[in-house]
């Protein structure tokens, strides 16, 4: 296993910058998730590490070796794609063994067998080895695809939305599985997704990309609790963080350059207003099993709060709002610290 270092890497396609001056270090045994919307540069970053793209500027290092000029094949990386591409005419066993049987490797067949059996155990597909790849369910196929990456024991793993072609339940199962395997192997993984749940649950650290720039890098908790700008704040959390113009809460003490106040739904406290003073009115109550979201209109802006169903409020009620741990942003969306 090994670390990955990107040093001031830039890449343009035509005149469109895809990755801009990116610095990133993925430590040995760490799982870093790159999170961002389409076009943020996540996949390009992954492809630059793999050698499937050449950077215009900057260096890529894997395990203390500068690989910037090296071909993909000699970089010792494994790439898992969104769409599992297995050989349909081969058995699961042969699909797993395939990368090891490459002539250049000259691996003896008993060693291959030992590795394949090992990986099959790890992925809980021991009983599927003799089946053809096409006889498997989607979740099993993606497991085999991941297995084919693992079996080579490369220095690093690159994964591009490996779970997103699966349905929600399999995704949740494989997510937990992948985390377990990563821990057991101590694997270094750079992982790309647009799915915040995946990012939050898998990552040692999350790197949030926006328009080719790495805007924040930190643990899931750091990113969620302490976002550097409005984009990052809005990227994580369901329901989305409330972003309210400063003027709506004129009496909340805030730094002078504050233009927007952000507050997470779980940090909004509301109660029925007494003494005729109120900040808003309940517009809509959305019931979600055990909890409900109360949509409160405050000076024309919707604020969503998380509430208990027994809160005793109804649509139209006047309420007082209290904000715990508000986040302040300036006119450009950058975080302003109190």
């Amino acid at each position: 296993m090994a670390e990955i270092v990107l040093d001031a890497v830039s890449k343009q396609f035509g005149r469109t910058p895809a990755v801009r001056d990116l610095d990133l270090r993925v430590a040995d045994g760490e799982l870093v998730v790159l999170l961002g919307p389409t076009g943020a540069g996540k996949t390009t970053t992954l492809r630059l590490v793999a050698g499937l793209e050449q950077p215009d500027a900057g260096r890529v290092r894997i395990a203390d070796r500068d690989v910037t000029a090296e071909a993909p094949a000699v970089r010792d990386v494994a790439f898992v794609f969104q769409q599992y591409s297995l050989y349909p005419h081969l058995s699961v066993y042969d699909n797993l063994a395939f990368p090891l049987r490459a002539p250049a490797r000259r691996m003896p067949e008993p060693d291959i067998d030992a590795r394949v059996q090992d990986i099959a155990r790890l992925l809980h597909i021991e009983d599927k080895l003799t089946k053809r790849a096409t006889q498997l369910s989607g979740g099993q196929m993606q497991r085999v695809a991941i297995g084919r990456a693992l079996v080579r024991r490369p220095a690093i793993y690159l994964m591009d939305e490996p779970l997103s072609s699966l349905d929600a339940k399999l995704r949740a199962e494989l997510r937990i599985e992948l985390k377990r395997i990563q821990r057991e192997l101590g694997a270094t993984i750079l992982y790309v997704t647009h799915d915040q749940t995946e990012a939050m649950t898998l990552a040692s650290r999350i790197g949030v990309l926006d328009e080719g720039r790495l805007v924040q890098l930190g643990s899931p908790r750091e990113i969620y609790q302490d976002p550097v700008n409005v984009h990052v704040a809005a990227r994580l959390g369901t329901p989305t963080v409330n972003l309210v113009p400063r003027g709506v809460f004129a009496d909340v003490p805030a730094p002078p350059q504050t233009a927007t106040i952000g507050v997470r739904t779980e940090h909004v406290r509301i109660k029925k207003s007494a003494n005729g003073k109120s900040t808003g009115r309940v517009r809509w109550i959305e019931h979600l099993g055990d909890q409900c979201h109360l949509h409160v209109t405050v000076a024309g802006t919707d604020v969503v709060t998380l509430g208990d169903p027994d809160i005793g409020l109804a649509v139209g009620d006047a309420v007082d709002i209290e904000m715990l741990a508000p986040l302040f942003f300036d006119a450009r969306g950058e975080r302003v610290r109190a």
């Binding site: 997103s164 349905d167 929600a168 339940k169 647009h194 939050m200 908790r221 959390g237 739904t265 055990d290």
Partner: protein
């Protein structure tokens, strides 16, 4: 637009029954989802409604007309395939106009309908582009447009989002729902993805082994599953199950799990002593250190607002709880479990069927 009625529909392939005696009605203007794992018969059902497959027995009524043995072309139904089969050498406009040209629709009328469909789908600016250069989402819009121009009585969509990448799928989910609301059309779609079904459909028919397990609004399947299969298929994470051995009499308001009484919705249906299962959604499981039902924390997945805590009870049942992320839960911690009693389900383990209780009388979805 029209109502679709399926009566005792049955389809066998050799010895294998793909669809077994299905009966259901899709109301006019409904956004209806056939949901289920692969091989459950959902696509076969859709193809029979379309006329691409003939039933072994049973009837299909479209707006009251028996169309069971009418060819697909005479059913006035539009079918949108998963792989949106467009003519790559034609422009968007010609792709949209093609079904109308085949029908011999007058030129002015064709033009009007093509422009109307493009407007509804917000692809008017793409009309003179070639489809081969378009991104996946726009190609899907063109495929839908080709169905819309025909002004059919119903739309059938086979895994409409299956060929799109993950992020686009979420966008198209919202878009399809909005499209349905604008057209107010009867639409039937097939998917294996419960999140797609839950977020788009008015009505879900969840299928298993050729049979409909449960049919109803998404919230009903979620809150009041008829069976363990439904409880497990819907919801992410799915419902947790705690097996126990015991009996239930009508009027009971608790079950005994070992030595511990757990409050449940008042039973309307009893069960002799048998292997039973208590079912709880993750948001109805709470951690409380003093509760008698003891469990150990296996894992906690931090999600920001909430966290999903995986626990195992002293008798080996695994549960998932969705709790606020400031609740302390570290792997290895010992804790107690309590539940929201009015939300719990009780199942018969052998048949998987839910025992009827006050839960099933709750009128509010």
């Amino acid at each position: 637009m029209a109502e679709i009625r399926v009566e005792n529909l049955h389809r066998s392939f050799g010895d294998v029954a793909a669809v077994r005696n299905s009966t259901f009605t899709i109301p006019d203007g409904d956004f209806f989802c056939l949901l289920g794992p692969s091989g459950c018969g959902k696509t076969t059902t859709l193809r029979m409604i379309a006329g691409l497959e003939l039933p072994t027995s049973g009837r299909i009524l479209l707006g009251g007309d028996d169309v069971t043995f009418k060819p697909a072309s005479q059913r006035d139904i539009a079918f949108v395939f998963q792989l949106f089969a467009l003519y790559p050498h034609m422009t968007v406009r010609r792709n949209l106009a093609y079904p109308l040209r085949c029908q011999g629709t007058p030129r002015a009328e064709t033009r009007r309908r093509v422009e109307e469909a493009a407007r509804i789908l917000r692809i008017s600016h793409l009309l003179d582009r070639s489809v081969s250069g378009l991104p996946g989402g726009d190609r899907q819009r063109v495929a839908l447009g080709r169905a819309i121009v025909r002004e059919p009585r119903a739309f059938l969509l086979d895994e409409p989002l299956g060929a799109l990448d993950a992020e686009l799928r979420e966008v198209m989910c919202d878009e399809l729902r909005a499209l349905h609301d604008r057209l107010n059309a009867t639409m039937v779609f097939v998917t294996h993805d419960q999140i797609e079904a839950m977020s788009m459909a008015d009505t879900i028919a969840l299928m298993k082994d050729g049979r409909i397990e449960q049919i109803g609004p998404p919230q009903q399947l979620y809150d009041r599953p008829n069976s363990m299969f439904v409880a497990d298929f819907i919801g992410s994470p799915p419902m947790s199950f705690v097996p126990f051995h015991g009996r239930v009499a009508p009027g009971d308001r608790s079950v005994r799990i070992g030595e511990i009484a757990v409050a449940v919705p008042e039973a309307r249906e009893g069960s002799a002593e048998a292997d039973l299962v208590l079912g709880a959604r993750p948001e109805h499981v709470q951690l409380s250190s003093s509760a008698p039902l003891r469990a150990q924390v296996l894992d906690a997945e931090y999600l920001g607002t909430t966290q999903i805590v995986t626990l195992v009870t002293a008798h080996g049942a695994t549960l998932r709880a969705r709790v606020a992320s400031d609740v302390a839960a570290r792997p290895g911690d010992q804790t107690g479990l309590s539940f929201r009693p009015e939300k719990l389900s009780v199942f018969d383990r052998a048949s998987g069927r839910a025992l009827r209780s006050a839960l099933h009388e709750d009128a509010h979805g």
